[in-house]
Symmetry: C2
Subunit: 391 residues, 2 copies
């Protein structure tokens, strides 16, 4: 008799596999220029520095053992210093918790903060990793649209006025994935005021904030309210292989996350946490390294946006190339980007259709393009191929 | 207005922090000999080989990027070869899933296999990491006692005859933590037959199986039924810093785990997975390395058991030193080991009271002693101090 797995079948329904990952499997053919991925450029990752840090860590036995669930203490100290500078206040060690990438921070926070059926507000289009986590937690999800200034906090305010009581509001405040936009200072203040007035948590998910091209981003939402839990990561500025993300939250929340982390996977890797600490603590080197990544990505982003605007004119409206890893574009003539995709693959270019990021339906004429792993000329070719496919 | 966190308060009640971890915080004073930990000996971990593997991996960019959610494919291939030899059949790649330590395998499996309220059968005394996971999943937990031959499968059979229908039965089949015992071949066959007859999953949690001292363990429970999901780990034979555990399960279960892994933390570290693959693939070296660990741990275990039997005689009954990392002992005169602990700390020795491993109550005269990180002489001193404390 084979085991029954009632939970398995129903959970597979709830957790649609990330459309992006499934697509990636189709777009690895060499002749296709893929703008569909969401990966940082491995060529820009500081391999020599990582190798030196690994070698240094492995000169003693200290990096071989289980480490503490909240993270290796010297890494948490480095992060506290960085985040204190970013937030303009003294961040205490007890507020810093290291996770296995910031995706784990989201997953553990959902468990700590949400009861089944709790209301979570997300942005639309949405970060699919967040949708996946909140759906798995059994949350009720309501979307608030983005515009060029980020989350429409006026729409959130209307929801609150109608009596909706979110437990959590999730925002990718800087260089939104997939929307490309950054929340304005005014909206940040407004969101923080609403959080204070109505007593909800804001999860400020910020993996891209340091990847600005022309000017730094506004101060984090977390500078305006202690109801804001900040998430960030070493994946986009150093390397995803470290699996080092972190959250900054009140001590009581960190204690809840710690209990769940022990059940989830005990602790992170002492080796990769020591490597991350070494590189993040070397401020002078890090500033130069991040400036280089910014310069390369900035050039690529501008080439992509220039090509789209030149080739498509008014037919496509796209986000500015201000930072991060993605450009979001909309066909103003109603072209269905899901239907277009097979033609685009035939023409040799891949992207992610907007519908993959829709909370319910919508974004059927939109697409997300990642500019991090192609040079300017290749990005120009990709846009030309897209134009051929779109006819 | 501060956010309400209703889930937080109730979940903190459900998830008692691991008593072991809390104790570890108290027993790091240099004058205390701690038998309370549950850590492998970092001095025996192959630091030079790990350093060479890290250096080799970091000569290319390939180990810097995000890796696949089920694990780096060449590591899965190495594991498939190892597990094929262990299980005596061809294990397919689709049956192998790499997790962030085997604790994550347990946590993801609980999500995939259990609906809230589902029945889970565990062994008593229990592995606390499993209790934590199953409690967090909202399972109803029923315990079956251990004896010198492992899980009392006759008691499980009685439960089934009374109409209980477990979704999952969890066993640490080899060198039980904390019980020290290994399930006999007859019990393995019986457990597999019950799983087949009643259609439940067995999770065979086997991190210690290779650490036998005098003779290898019986063939895994998984050799007797495809209803058995096997878990193991590189933590005890190589190093916990790799955070490499794995599960062997039917492809449908692996697919469910993959969807949950994407939401939980996307993927593991390409770097540490490449390091693990390099060391696990070098079979000749690995055989010698594991033989050395066995020899050292075996000598320590025998010294501990000898000291306990010599010093306490009939007053304490303890498990054989046959493998793994732990000895389980029982005061036959009813000494309360929780009350004894403060006297033991005063005398300069730490252990974990049996009650920490009880599913409901019980084991009040028992204690778990870890022999991995002290030499034979120190273990003799520890037992002497324990005898002083016990009066």
């Amino acid at each position: 008799m084979s085991p029954t797995a009632p939970a398995l079948a129903s959970k597979l329904d709830n957790l649609r596999s990330s459309a992006i990952r499934d697509l990636l499997k189709l777009t690895t053919r060499a002749e296709i220029i893929s703008l569909a991925g969401g990966l940082p450029d491995a060529q820009l990752m500081p391999r020599d520095r990582l190798a030196a840090a690994a070698e240094a860590a492995l000169t003693t036995q200290g990096c071989l053992q289980y480490t503490e669930s909240p993270g290796w203490a010297p890494l948490r100290e480095v992060l506290a210093v960085r985040e204190s500078a970013r937030l303009g206040r003294q961040v205490e060690l007890a507020e810093v918790f290291v996770t296995h990438g910031s995706q784990q921070a989201l997953a553990l926070l959902a468990e700590v903060l949400l009861d089944p059926g709790a209301l979570v507000v997300v942005e639309d289009p949405a970060y699919v990793g967040a949708l996946q986590v909140f759906r798995a937690a059994g949350a009720r999800i309501v979307a608030v649209p983005l515009d060029a200034e980020g989350m429409r906090t006026d729409v959130l305010e209307d929801l609150l006025a109608r009596g909706e009581r979110p437990a959590v509001v999730h925002t990718v405040s800087n260089f939104h994935n997939p929307g490309g936009v950054t929340m304005s200072r005014e909206r940040r203040v407004h969101l923080a005021e609403l959080a204070q007035a109505h007593g909800f948590w804001v999860i400020e998910d910020d993996p891209y904030g340091e990847l600005w091209f022309d000017r730094p981003t506004p101060a984090p939402v977390a500078t305006h309210s202690r109801n804001v839990i900040r998430l960030s990561s070493a994946s986009k500025i150093l390397s995803p292989t470290l699996r080092v993300g972190w959250l900054i939250a009140p001590e009581s929340v960190c204690r809840g996350v710690e209990l769940l982390k022990q059940g989830a996977d005990l602790c992170g890797s002492a080796l990769t946490q020591q490597m991350a600490a070494a590189l993040l603590a070397d401020e002078t080197w890090l500033a130069g390294h991040v400036a280089h990544v910014r310069a390369v990505y900035g050039e690529r982003a501008k080439a992509l946006v220039h090509a789209v605007r030149t080739r498509f004119g008014d037919r496509v409206r796209c986000s500015d190339a201000a930072g991060g890893m993605f450009v979001w574009a909309d066909f103003t003539d109603g072209t269905d980007t899901t239907a277009l995709l097979s033609h685009a693959l035939d023409a040799g270019v891949a992207y992610v259709p907007g519908s993959a990021f829709a909370v319910d339906a919508g974004h059927r004429s939109a697409l997300r393009m990642c500019f991090t792993t192609s040079d300017a000329e290749t990005l120009g070719d990709a846009v030309e191929r897209l134009a051929v496919a779109a006819g």
